[in-house]
Symmetry: C2
């Protein structure tokens, strides 16, 4: 039961980050992104993955690993697109 709630929670919070990424990739505009905040968020979700591994709770591990991926892509986009403007 916790597993199901955790998985649904993970899907919802993961899905809500995707439009931000799509917008940045489509518009190639990163003026509204703060690299510092992406860095802080990246450290945070990275630690959540460690926490999930310690508890052996898969919903925590998978949804935060996905967040690590999205935020790493955002950070890469930031440095790629910043040079163009």
């Amino acid at each position: 039961m916790e597993m199901i709630i955790g998985i649904v929670a993970g899907i919802l919070t993961s899905v809500s980050m995707v439009p931000q990424l799509v917008k940045v990739i489509r518009e190639q505009d990163v003026t509204n992104l703060s690299p510092l905040m992406i860095g802080v968020l990246l450290s945070g979700v990275g630690l959540w993955v460690v926490y999930g591994l310690m508890l052996k709770e898969w919903p925590i591990i998978i949804s935060n690993a996905f967040s690590v991926l999205v935020n790493t892509t955002l950070l890469v986009c930031y440095f790629m697109f910043r040079k163009r403007s």
Copy 2:
């Protein structure tokens, strides 16, 4: 040990959402916010709170309860400031 990592992770992910809220309140500009995405995120973090309560893991409960608060404020701001523009 998990507790400490969970608390640090929670603080980092929570802190990274604050600048967004400060920016919206200061500029009173919500054109870049998507109410649908805030709603999805709100349901997601709400479910994480339920999940945390089930596992009795305080770092999950507290950091997601904080996210619920930030996102509810963002949603309220959206409907308040949308009328002005």
